[in-house]
Symmetry: D2
Subunit: 250 residues, 4 copies
């Protein structure tokens, strides 16, 4: 018995890659491709049990509500969600007519990136020092990356919970700002280099030893194993889940 | 209230470093230093609650039994233990007069090395490919390192449990053996380079993405945070525990 | 004044990428695209000063002779050349009617790969230890890569010239072959990992220090800067040149 | 025939390590150890052909002049030299009575660090992007390191000479300064991590490819091969030479 899947935003760059990935995945069957102009209802969804939304911030929330109403579990890769929007989805899912439906919204589907963040937080409490270096292509407009900020926050929270002192740093002179950004006490550095895509390195240090956790995303295909995993697992979740971690059971 | 500590093998390279580390650690008090020729009994242990044994394979088992008899919890860094010797310690600890005593034997106290192994096993099931590269000083007589073999076995076990297919490898021609050792289906490479101490890199790959976990031990001091952690936690364990993982609660 | 360029094998994967790169390069003008079935002569070359051949081993030698006869300088990226074929090109270029013509044949146009090899050979004589690790996608059928073998040979030659002793290696036990291939005395390791393309790392070690030179080729576009450089410089060469190094003036 | 060597500052940390290294080096003979309070003259230098000065900024210039007067060639590892002090040494060496004497002053004797700088400058003109990441122990008071600044300047100079455009960087938002220091147009990042000593990584990028040059100094012994090389070669130089590069013939 395959899981039947609909892709919303099927004509976009990510959406079309998702369609390919679903078609190639064992145990999944692509039954509908919807894009701008298509109505999201039972008729157009072709009996899909799971819908994957890779559209745009302006429509993704309405899509999710409509997909739940049509009886789908939903996996969302579109960005731009706010806490208020999450809350509205939670309320929508709490209604009796949505019983058994689940929605998974993930800002990042790259397994190695999600794992790096999770492993770094796990390891952080055992180390005196921790810093984050993210490296991206030079066309990126913001620094540091959202993933790097989230990674630093996760490390800082783990350190705080373990009662660690601030990271040691004797720097007295840094006229040009070489020590980078400081996010919750953790230094974060952003490299921009032609040829790169999306990379992150977490370095953790103790007297005489270092632990390095590095993730490299070389292209868009790196998101597909995470999307496929989410499609397979979303049916086991309940209500709203944010972040891929939940289905990675870590 | 400090934890009182005795060091057995206190005159050796590791033992003397342990003495220093205990003296500097907050909440620990060094109350006895024993070495060759010293009797291990209540009198000479100076009221130690925990004893740390860094001696030699020929005497460590007898030391552990004597230390348990003297009422100590024991942390052991000496190598050369066999499964039969573990069993004899288990039986010794199961006797009514040893009630409440615990023994922790760890082949490796470097937190980053133990973590790398544990994190690699955790991440392995999400990746199609996995290989291990270990790098050591050129005076090491065996290859690959015991840690690399253990890491490969941990990865292989995690893959098997997740039902993964063998790692992909189209190699048809490898006249000189460049693909390295194969341990439980995982390729392991050993580099020997002047200037290095003990290092290990685990590389995990999926289409379009890579996760790298690397550990560097630069010198003997890298074992001390693990020893101190073990001294602090051994009292919470029961019976015999093998491996530092247990006290890292991961 | 632009340099006018013809691409031979213009419909192939590499050829079509070269066409794009030439069109986008400042100071270069694409004047002819030839492929299977097109005659290589003055008429079809559209006045090209430089021709770039990315065809197949079976026809590239005949193409080069025809291009020289048509008055072009030639840049060749096709593989499969033998020393005998090189010699026939040298003789062809030595004829009076070929005066001023030049041919550059390069097995690898990735600047970073060519540089890594050259820099490693330059640095090698200052280090006691040296090893090579190459990493590729798991569909590669041979190990180690030709580039890694060439790199190891270059390092070995530089060490021999400097009178260095063999690399130190105390390994006595290596049942599974973890120490990898030995090429001219240099250990070479081959990793095969899904997600990777073509990568090489040279590690050089002395007491207390390490130098690492690493090259990553993420995709086919990595060859274009080298091709464009060759097109710009081939006119300054004389006769036959093998390898991109010559135009990199290193 | 050995080269006879005197060490000035022989009781200091670096000086005593130099004494050991000279004693172990083939073809070198340690004939004098001078320190605070010893007069630098022919009598106390024991016939040394080469003197190595690892003292302190306040006395090194006077030492060098006295050593030249005593007929020695001089290798200097003490820091704190100014351009004016260099000029006074040049004038001192230009006098007829100093004919044939040479002085080599090097801010850094770690071969891998000097090589990394030199190789990075050599490679820089072939790449669209370049950044520098230096990593040190957390007790260092200044950031970025002098070596990183020198490396960035060397890269910038090579790019300028090759007529390269500024490095691409679309960053519009960097509230926390994650993009680091900018030295002559090259971004420099400084990491401070317990367990590290002195490390530097230069990353160079083009479409689809990356070249990385990394140097690791694990301890003080890493300076000795450079010092020994300088002692062997200083006699072949003339006048004043600044930087180890000259004797590395690169």
């Amino acid at each position: 018995m395959s899981i039947t899947v609909a892709v919303i935003g099927a004509a976009g760059r990510m959406g079309s890659t998702v369609c390919q990935a679903v078609e190639q995945a064992e145990g999944l069957e692509l039954v509908a491709r919807l894009d701008v102009g298509d109505t999201i209802d039972v008729e157009h969804l072709g009996g899909a049990q799971v819908a994957v939304d890779f559209t745009v911030p302006g429509v993704t929330e309405a899509n999710v509500h409509a997909l739940v109403d049509a009886g789908c579990d939903v996996v969302v890769g579109t960005t731009g969600w706010t806490e208020a929007a999450y809350e509205r989805v939670r309320e929508h899912l709490a209604r009796p007519e949505a019983a058994g439906r689940s929605v998974l919204i993930a800002p990042n589907f790259a397994l190695s990136a999600v794992l790096a963040m999770s492993l770094a937080a796990r390891a952080a409490r055992f180390f005196e020092s921790a810093e984050v270096i993210e490296l991206h292509h030079p066309d990126k407009v913001d620094a540091p990356s959202g993933t790097a900020v989230a990674t630093a926050r996760g490390i800082a929270a783990a350190r705080a919970q373990a009662g660690l002192a601030p990271v040691p740093d004797a720097t007295q002179t840094d006229l040009h700002g070489a020590r980078g950004a400081v996010i919750d006490g953790i230094h974060v550095h952003a490299v921009r280099l032609r040829g790169l895509t999306a990379h992150e390195e977490v370095v953790l240090g103790n007297p005489g030893e270092q632990l390095t956790i590095r993730t490299d995303s070389f292209d868009r295909s790196s998101f597909m194993p995470g999307v496929i995993l989410a499609v397979r697992q979303v049916g086991w979740l309940e209500g709203l889940t944010v972040g891929l971690d939940a289905v990675m059971e870590m």
